[in-house]
Symmetry: D4
């Protein structure tokens, strides 16, 4: 049984590639989908498609409508959502995606370091599973196939 | 027509009292419901009810289950959600509540200062309305009754 | 049994007041809710609350988010939707509201003149009832109480 | 990941063929589905199948039930909806389809010329993305695969 | 706790009045709602409101749209549905209403005589409760308040 | 695009085989699923699997639970439902299946002879399309692929 | 804000009266609804209403359809569900009710003694809150009103 | 038409292998999915992935979150659920899974010995079909393909 997994979270390092690589090594029948991970492209996509906007607010709003479109399409096609929080950045999009997934009854794994236990406590409690590392998230996925 | 409004967001100042006061002055038939706004009580509620937990992780998890219970009850009874972001704090709970409300098709107003336009752009784009001040949020509510 | 009725459609004449008056004369226990019927206020509400926008596109987008908020709140509280089409104007909002109501399984009455049979045929077919006059729509509502 | 895209909107020029051609050139794994684009067939389908109806109202009602059947089947199978508005025609069906798609939480792109910003402002605000040209709509679809 | 009960089924005798009378004698806090029980009015309501139709098919279709409107409004407001089958008549509307109620997760009681056990076996099996008399149906309602 | 079509209705003649044959001749990519069409097997399936029941009521209830199981599985997998009414038999199961399909938002075609217009008027009005012959139903399905 | 609370669980002692009494002493605006707590009546209700059944299986099936009817009506009217497990009895109905409530997104409190931690671990993990005593469950309800 | 079947119930004997073997012999196009059937692994999975927990309560909670994740993923992918109760064990998970499946409108077969008729009567009544042996459950599945 192939499963599609949406990988929400920060786009500032290569944690997704790392996870895909390890899933591949374990021969797990998982298809991963992701938001745009090129940060500049993600910020510019509104103006890239729609042209120059009058100010930063509307530049951001144009970009976000297209990023939200991508996320909505891919999350609706997914069977599982993994949302990773790191030590840096505001990461409100990660909280937004995780909460949307949970509210849609998508099985959801939150990955967060020990240092974030307190600020993420309500979201962790609502998630299906909370772990501390990407490897642990993959172990949870692999457990489905045991 | 009376409406029930859930007020999500930080609990470090009296913005909710301010909003209720102004709604009352305008004679708007609004009932406001809120999370626990006593920050210490919110953090301790798990141990207050269930007793001492073995460490901070479980202390937080116990508290969060009861806070989530309160939020779930009150948000399901609400017709409208207002989610306020301030300049400080991580505020992942605010993002979580706003995203849950939007996903449940609750009409949702986000209040955020100009400085947060960029990090909140995807959430703002998904919300029904985004404004910058509590007074503007109240103007939006009042507009229903014009 | 009191019912709440949302009155969608053009805001260029007093058909809503006419309908409310007749319902009152028949002592029907109906509560009517409506969009903003002051056309200028409806167009300006974005700038009235959020301040001057950079151009007409964003002026319209700001207004529409607040008009959509009002419609979403009131339509969710409604038991029945009446959508009136007249001979003039584009009336895409009327089609939008009627289609949203039908998709949400709200019992929906479309009022349209004979001249619009052809262009509205698919929407009429999806609506619960289609009539030609406001008086006929009121007759349909009154029939619930016979 | 193959996606199915429903193309709502006017059937008076070849914009759909144009879009399919360009999607094919970009090797995007998209399957397009559409309403009946032969306008005469669309108007006559009721009598073509059910035989002569007593007048234009019932001729239209018979045709519309079969057109609505086709749209309901294909839209339910679709992952994305694109709704195009042109400068001419009433296009209430386009507004109806776009509003139904948005209410069903289908990710929806509206294509409309600058001249229609004002009359379509509420529908645009509810759509996931609004663009001005078919090429831009295709760019939004292509962005999913970057 | 007041409950609203929709009474589906044939309209050829006074079983509804009988049931209401007995519920009243037991002081049960039940509000009963019903289809149009005047058979002629039910058949003529289309032409009564919309005027003369071109033939019997369209006369029936006009009437049924208004009867369906009434049923949809009242069933959505109901907490419980009782559907009574008698020995005579086709009663497809009763089967339609019972099946719609069950599919909407409305708690549903079917009342049918012993002679109809076989033809109603699948519908009875899907209903929440099946009884043979109106008095038994009332006993089931009364049981909620014990 | 392959579609799955559930064929509800009486099981006393070979209308399903007739329909499948014609669909095959037209090379339509349709997969048909059906209730048990062996009438004796359908009535005996409860005792065939569960053993002798104490009386006819329980024999029927046992059979109906297994017939309902089959219908629920297959209807949930279907994209379209066709429900055929003939001149004979009570056919409450056909009304039950059609109403369940409509309530689940399955696009639904009712096939009924002219003689049944009046008793089926409310169900016909709720269905997506109503036709008089199996050939017409197939024409409606074929129209999706034009 | 008044809330309705469904009290699922064993019916062999007076824990419900105890809870109601304490809620009353705290002046909490709670309305409690319950299953039939007279155990004999609960087992006999099928035969009490429908008459003698042919064996124990059908006696139980008749009773359970009426008990399920009561539970479905009252749970759908409830805002919160409390499910209490004691040290004795199989209590599959309690697990059934708690799981149904959780799946319907009702905020759910499980009360279970420490000795049942292990066998109830998956259900506890899915519930919104798990506590060990009825007093703690009431504290959780009271927390909503702080 | 291939169907996916979730096999809920006790994990203390090889009933699942027995069922799969017989389904294979009958060439039924069924794909079976299951919970973790290695009992020790199921109890230890929390600590296996997340490391040592402070006490048995949290060891169990960690394990259950991962078991619930697996069940949620696989049950959402399933077309049918079979839930088997044996003579031993508390089996609250089996009741929880069956009730969740029924509430999600999954067609559900309960397998239980005659000795459990009374304590399982309400759950059996809500299930689509109840049988006494695994062979009978397979007969019900096979009936879909006749």
């Amino acid at each position: 049984m192939e499963l599609t997994v949406y990988l929400a979270g920060q786009i500032h390092d290569d944690w997704r590639e790392n996870l895909k690589q390890k899933a591949s090594e374990k021969n797990l029948p998982l298809q991963f989908v992701t938001p745009q991970t090129n940060h500049d492209r993600s910020d510019q996509i509104g103006e890239d498609i729609l042209g120059k906007q009058p100010n930063n607010l509307y530049r951001d709003d144009a970009a976000s409508s297209i990023n939200n479109f991508r996320t909505q399409v891919l999350m609706q096609k997914s069977d599982v959502v993994i949302a990773l929080f790191g030590e840096k950045y505001k990461q409100w999009n990660t909280a937004m995606d995780a909460s949307a997934a949970i509210t849609m009854n998508k099985p959801t794994i939150i990955v967060r370091p020990e240092s974030l236990i307190h600020p993420l406590k309500e979201l962790s409690n609502k998630a299906t599973v909370t772990v501390e590392t990407v490897d642990q998230a993959l172990d949870v996925l692999a457990y489905i196939y045991e």
